[in-house]
């Protein structure tokens, strides 16, 4: 709209400036390069360059045994590593054709939803930072640390968790873990409510981000959007509901959708998803079934150390697993989960060897980031920055 009026006002030849945004820029939160053609402050065109941290995950995965791929998935979307880990485990389990006990499913759901909260907290607080409100960021990051503490007591790592194993979880939840999750559920909503009060109906914030970086539902689907960015346009596609995995069908939650597909809607969809995640965690924790925390797949699930030291069979399995010599069926499988940014898919082709013949990650960031030039065309530079941070493009997932 704005562009049209500008062009009709004066038909004389305009002078465009080229502005190089990135590869390292404080406002891009990662390394992407955008070469913008600017007419004054209006973006006329932009060209993206990516690949600045291309690490060849797919090639590595062809050379490593299955269990060694889990640390690679950590480094895809590193804001919510556990979700990626679980997705990979479930892909291999699907290939092997094993069913998980309910307890494992519920434990996984708890971990995944905690990770989703931490992912969305980063994204939303960073939107606020980019509009000039640092308070929310410093405030919710304290609570993000609490989520890290929970992860740490489950698996020993904070960020790149390598949580869970093919065939179950590496260990059961201890009493302390359950207690710390309960504490989190009890205390976080109060903090989160303050964060919401700070921003959600804040006049300045709303004026700043409503209408920036919009995309229509049709274009979003054509661009392969998934996750909160697609739902902000009004399409209620969520893998957790469409193709339930890990017993998501047992839980009662709603899928928030937006209307305009702009930055504010993306922000609000994420805010609402945090609330829904809290609901899911609470249900999962209250109904956590008793039982084993691993399935019966001795070829893949490491036996307990006591067994390894005292039992021949367990020792053989341990050796085979660690050396990556476990047998896998020949076949190909596609499994997708709802990652922090959308449908995270794993296309795995196995030829029965120790490593995957081909493993392709469907990285949601990589697919939807290509819509960025279309979304920012005709808007101002500062709007482009906000639109980018609301898309939550994670460099590790973008470049794989």
């Amino acid at each position: 709209m704005q562009n049209d009026t500008l062009i009709s006002l004066d038909q004389e030849k305009r002078e465009y400036t080229t502005l190089n945004l990135g590869p390292t820029h404080p406002a891009t939160h990662g390394i992407f390069q955008n070469v913008l053609t600017m007419d004054g402050e209006i973006i006329v065109d932009s060209e993206q360059t990516i690949g600045y941290i291309h690490r060849a995950f797919e090639k590595i995965a062809e050379h490593r045994p299955y269990y060694q791929v889990t640390p690679l998935t950590d480094r895809l979307n590193y804001c919510s590593s556990p979700i990626n880990n679980m997705g990979w485990h479930m892909t291999v389990e699907k290939l092997l054709g094993v069913e998980m006990p309910k307890r494992v499913d519920y434990m996984r759901v708890i971990i995944m939803e905690l990770a989703r909260i931490s992912d969305h907290l980063v994204c939303n607080s960073v939107i606020a930072v980019d509009t000039g409100a640092l308070t929310g960021f410093t405030y919710v990051f304290q609570w993000r640390e609490k989520i890290y503490d929970i992860f740490e007591s489950i698996c020993g790592a904070r960020l790149t968790t390598n949580i869970g194993r093919i065939g179950g979880m590496e260990r059961d939840f201890t009493k302390e873990v359950i207690q710390s999750i309960r504490d989190f559920l009890a205390n976080f909503p109060k903090v989160f409510a303050e964060f919401c009060n700070l921003l959600e109906r804040n006049r300045i914030f709303m004026d700043r981000i409503i209408g920036t970086g919009p995309i229509s539902a049709e274009r979003a689907l054509n661009y392969g959007f998934t996750g909160p960015n697609l739902r902000a346009t009004g399409v209620d596609y969520d893998v957790r509901v469409m193709n339930p995995y890990s017993s998501y069908q047992d839980f009662d939650f709603t899928i928030p959708v937006g209307v305009n597909g702009d930055t504010y809607d993306r922000f609000m969809v994420r805010q609402q998803e945090i609330r829904e995640s809290l609901k899911i965690i609470e249900q999962a924790l209250n109904n956590l079934p008793e039982g084993k925390f691993f399935a019966d797949v001795p070829e893949f699930f490491l036996p307990p150390k006591v067994e390894v030291y005292n039992n021949m069979e367990a020792l053989i399995y341990h050796f085979k697993i660690v050396m990556g010599e476990a047998d896998v069926p020949v076949g190909e499988v596609y499994h997708s989960i709802e990652g922090g940014n959308g449908e995270l898919g794993f296309y795995l082709v196995s030829d029965g060897g120790r490593a995957a013949y081909r493993l392709h990650f469907r990285r949601p960031c990589f697919i939807y980031y290509q819509a960025f030039p279309e979304m920012i065309k005709g808007s101002t530079l500062s709007d482009a920055i906000v639109a980018m941070s609301s898309m939550n493009v994670i460099a590790g997932e973008l470049d794989a």
């Binding site: 060849a56 090639k59 499988v333 898919g345």
Partner: protein, 168 residues
Amino acid sequence: MTEINNAYLLKEIQEEFGQSLISADEPYGLLTIELESSKILDLLKYLYNHPSIQMQFLTDLCGIHYPQIIGKELGVVYHVHSLIHNLRIRIKCFMPNDQAFIPSITPLYSAANWQERETFDFYGIIFNGHPNLKRILNVDEMDYFPLRKEYPLEDGTRTDKDDTYFGR
């Protein structure tokens, strides 16, 4: 109304693209067909505009390399999703090494743009009709296609690795 499922989908494809359909299978419940590579855009258009199937969401596009299968070394794998019926299909197209050409599906799906560039970058498959087919993840000067099986994974510049300790 007939139920939209894998069997129905396969029947519809067979009727329209019977000659180009090479094989069909259903591993893990996902209909997988192999198609002549020249027909891929036509098939996807047909599925996109089909009144009842409406497969309008491109989930994934990736390449694959089978150096031992002569004449079908390089492949492109498409995953398409009908969000209305929650039905997926996997389409594979194979090409010989020296004629790695396939029609680009960017006229139909904007999402295919970067994914085709990535496939070109990794495998050197040329997508005919792609608006801007150049390397995306690797540096422009790279003179090989790294994900083909014959190229090594590891960085050649390392001098501190002693092979005797790695069992090689």
